[in-house]
Amino acid sequence: MKNAENNGFLNWDYNPIEELSYTNNKRRNINLRLSTGLKYSFTDWLSAEIKYQYESEESNQRDLRSQETYFTRNLINRYSAFDGTSVTDHNIPLGAILTFDNKVLKSNNGRAQLNFNRNWTNHLVSALAGFEVRDIESEGYSDRFYGYDPDLGSSSPVNYTESYPLNPSGSNFNNIPGFLGVTGTVDRFRSYFANAAYTFLNRYTFSMSGRIDQSNLFGVNANQKSTPLWSVGGKWSMNEEKFYHLDILPLLRLRTTYGYSGNVDQNVTAFTTATHRPAGSSQRPAAVITNPPNPDLRWEQSRMLNIGLDFAFRNNVLSGSVEYYNKKSFDLMGNSRVDPTLGFTSYTGNVADMKGHGWDVQLNSVNVNRQLKWFTNILFSYTTDKVTKYFLPFNSNTLPGYFSDGSIFRASSQFVPTVGRPLFGIYSYRSAGLDPTDGAPRGFLNNEPSSNYAQIFSQSTVDSLSYHGRATPPVFGAIRNTVRYKGFTLSFNISYRFGYYFRRSSINYYSLFNQYDGHGDYASRWMQPGDEQHTNVPSSVYPADPNRDTFYNWSSVLVEKGDNIRLQDIQASYDWKQVALGKRSLQQIQLYAYLNNIGLLWRANHAGIDPDAAVMPLPRSYAFGIRILM
């Protein structure tokens, strides 16, 4: 590289400080939004309204990289014609490189709706129906000029169709990067919706709603462009009944809904689709298959039942709601590994059935209500899910083959769910501790400690793995306490998550030696016999064995309980109302301070790791401000 200049190349050094002064980037954004609406009441119980919004966004980027920049020098050098002793020609002309990148986005949004609200003595009917259309179009184009002279505005053409040997190796060929192109997308959505509710005697309510969503989903039959959604529900206000005499509980209401929804994944189609892309070295138009043909594709469907109870004690001393839901989903779409002999390594389509249920409880209490006020809000959720059926023909005996991509460990977007277990679970290889002689991590092979990792991988079945539990918390919620005294308000929010597991990171010697990816666990690694008594971190070996690292990183010693209690935020504020300011007065002045992500109050794991931010701690944020209402 240092001799490059003697051979006719441009200087090939990179100096990050000097780079700053050589580039000249400009970016311009223009946004425009227009909206209008109209409402008309035909009678006091029938009205119509329409709304319309237009939005446009334009961005122009101009990127001038002078010949002094490393980017330009490097590109010119790489494509220079070099006969082994000197540069004979510049396939990319000397001079600056100017790149334009422009995008225009336009959206139209219209909505028309008819409202019906009528009250008779004992009957109340409210209904609405309407439709909504949305059209979002974007267009982008980009262009690049080589050998650009900013003073003259001149540039030189290059040959994009030829592929040139790249310096310094001379053994790879590539075309001059063109950066030319026009892109365009159009998204269109249309929805029809209607819902109606009928209330009798102010006590019994029956409601129905339905909706059809349509879009210009690509590569599907017309009937798949629409997805339906409907629900029916009922509500019983018990406190309105004549027999109801609980004065201490003035609000008591029972409600339920049952709903159905269908869904299609915007990225999945039944037909073969392909994307235009210029072919490698000849630069002719070409197309790459993006979606294999899947004529059996179906809608994703789910059915959900909700039952809820709302209540409030006198003076709202204690109020809240308890809600139960039960959800069954069928033909869920997912991304899953598929036999590559079919020609594709992954498959997106209907893969599984699932069911789940859960509880949501919300309680609000007024603990002290004098000049000093103290309120408490409690949120509690319990949710659980289970895969009931998996369509693809892979059973537990065939799982180990794709451990190494981490599927089951949620390390990739593809995973193989296990029937009878939650969709996301934490599994690991059972650890047999470190080998006392050399500090190698050991697993079990035929129930004997072993460090034959390849065999462990290929012989493990899902049943031989440790299943720790859910990867997402089934129990979570928050408790907020608020204290108010005159204009001063202080509140703090404590959140909690229980009942789940996570995998912590540790040293990976292969990454360490090949990508300089270190980890603090290196310091506590096994170094001499006896160390295995107090550490789980394997010894360092060179060259690293990727299987040894993989085994250790997926072994049970790195799985921890995720349970934690967190002080989420603290808010403090002071309000002055009706502040006189000369002749006028301000409605309100508020001084406030807000602290977010304050820290963990308790965690189940002893490794000192925040399970929700296992790699990097969540940043604590502070905000202070003043708010004035005229």
């Binding site: 879009s215 235009h276 298959i289 043909p293 002999t341 079919l342 023909p393 299987n547």
Partner: protein, 461 residues
């Protein structure tokens, strides 16, 4: 009055919105670059996907063959698969996924099947017949090529006695991914599919390709000759080699090459009829820094044989007497795997020798070698009998076709005949590894994840 006006405005605007919503409104394409390939020109676009189609995924067999060796010191720093393939370990992949030799070859087959499944619904007319045939030929050619590459790694060598029962690789002729692969076809079925596809393709394809990475009629004949030779069908191999050489017989005169250049042979040179490469990912053993060619191998070339200089580079690294290969037809370190005229000359020579046409065989060989020698120094080789001719031709084949991923196929084929069987060996530090003729390790293991996902039977190693 006022309310009527409002009413009017609302109704008309509602109507306006509604009329914009006819069915075509939703039929617009989301992304301009997306297509549902249905037309003949769409199929042509699919065939031009060079990043997949212009490659031959024969990496594992190229790593396994004896065209090269790697010094012990460099061996340990290579990737797991390279190290394991190099010494013919029973388990090569150690649970790694994404083995391109399998996955990408079947991806090529899927592209071919998508085209072949779509073609019947595209009407062939007088106007598009030539294009229609060329597209169909291109898809058949692609499917055959991918299947051939798979067979070299994962099927037993072709043995006419047992081919009907020997397990081959699955032959896919449908693009529907809902039809699973349930079992392996037999070796016989695999080669029947390859040869049937190539026979048809070489008739359908145009004589001259649009671009040198595209297949053409002669490229179809070249592949057919290569394939028939590999299964010992010398009559058919001869027919196709002949058909090829009738169209293309020009050879590169090595006297015109710059022997000191890093890669003296230009890619797309006059011998190349279809340019494909073995790469992606590029294994380090293919790079100049890793592989060596034994001095004894280079000594097989006469001092006047220009290939001594064109094919081999001195290592100026203190390793006296060791050489690297630089005669790739790719103009780079990527191994060439396409069809070139020199290979077809050698196929025709060998077929003629085996079929008793010694004069014709030696003519072809001499025509080829004359271009390889320093002008005016070449003395024509003469064979006294069939066996002699065959021995000379096989030796010259060995010397001409290096680093093409063909050697493995040749060893497997020649091992069927005790006269030409070879044992290949590797030396690492003090260890010596040998692969004796017809060792089961001449058939590579199918990647474990493929076995898991498909349930097909594994090869015994």
């Amino acid at each position: 009055m006022k309310s009527t006006t409002y009413c009017f405005i609302i109704l008309t605007s509602t109507l306006l919105l509604a009329t914009s919503c006819d069915d075509n409104w939703l039929n617009i394409k989301r992304d301009r670059a997306l297509i549902v390939p249905t037309t003949l020109s769409d199929m042509r676009l699919l065939l031009r996907n060079e990043s997949l189609l212009a490659l031959d995924f024969r990496q594992l067999v190229a790593l396994s063959d004896d065209d090269y060796y790697v010094p012990s010191a460099l061996y340990s720093s290579a990737s797991t698969i390279e190290r394991n393939a190099y010494v013919w370990k029973a388990d090569i992949y150690e649970s790694q996924v994404g083995i391109v030799d399998w996955d990408k070859s079947y991806e090529q087959i899927a592209v071919a099947n998508i085209i072949l499944d779509a073609l019947p619904s595209i009407e062939a007319t007088a106007a598009n017949l030539s294009e229609w045939n060329d597209v169909k030929g291109g898809a058949l050619h692609l499917r055959a090529r991918a299947l051939f590459n798979l067979a070299q790694a994962f099927c037993k060598p072709y043995n006419p006695i047992s081919a009907a029962t020997d397990p081959g690789v699955p032959v896919r002729t449908t693009s529907n991914i809902n039809i699973p692969v349930s079992s392996r076809s037999t070796v016989k079925e695999v080669y029947e599919q390859i040869t049937a596809d190539l026979e048809e393709a070489s008739e359908l394809l145009r004589e001259t390709p649009d671009f040198i990475r595209d297949p053409s009629g002669p490229a179809g004949h070249g592949w057919a000759a290569r394939c028939y030779l590999s299964i010992g069908n010398y009559e058919k191999a001869l027919v196709h080699a002949d058909a090829y050489l009738q169209k293309h017989n020009q050879l590169l005169d090595f006297n015109t090459l710059n022997t000191t250049s890093n890669f003296p042979i230009q890619r797309y040179n006059i011998e190349v009829i279809q340019h494909t490469e073995i790469s992606d990912p590029i294994y380090s053993f293919f790079s100049n820094a890793y592989h060596r060619v034994p001095d004894s191998f280079r000594e097989m070339y006469d001092d006047n044989d220009l290939r001594r200089l064109v094919f081999f580079r001195d290592r100026f690294t203190g390793e006296l007497g060791t050489f690297g290969f630089k005669g790739q037809y790719t103009g780079s370190s990527a191994p060439f795997s396409g069809i070139s005229t020199n290979e077809v000359y050698l196929i025709r020579a060998e077929c003629n020798a085996r079929l008793g046409n010694i004069a014709a065989a030696m003519d072809d060989l001499n025509t080829l070698l004359e271009t390889r020698w320093l002008a005016g120094t070449y003395v024509k080789l003469i064979a006294s009998n069939e066996k002699d001719a065959l021995q000379i031709i096989l030796r010259e084949r060995r010397k001409e076709l290096l680093f093409r991923g063909l050697r493995w196929t040749d060893i497997r084929r020649l091992n069927q005949d005790p006269d030409y069987a070879t044992t290949i060996t590797r030396n690492l530090d003090s260890l010596t590894y040998s692969l004796v003729p017809n060792d089961p390790k001449f058939v590579l293991p199918i990647p474990e994840y493929v076995i898991d996902l498909s349930g097909i039977a594994q090869n015994e190693r």
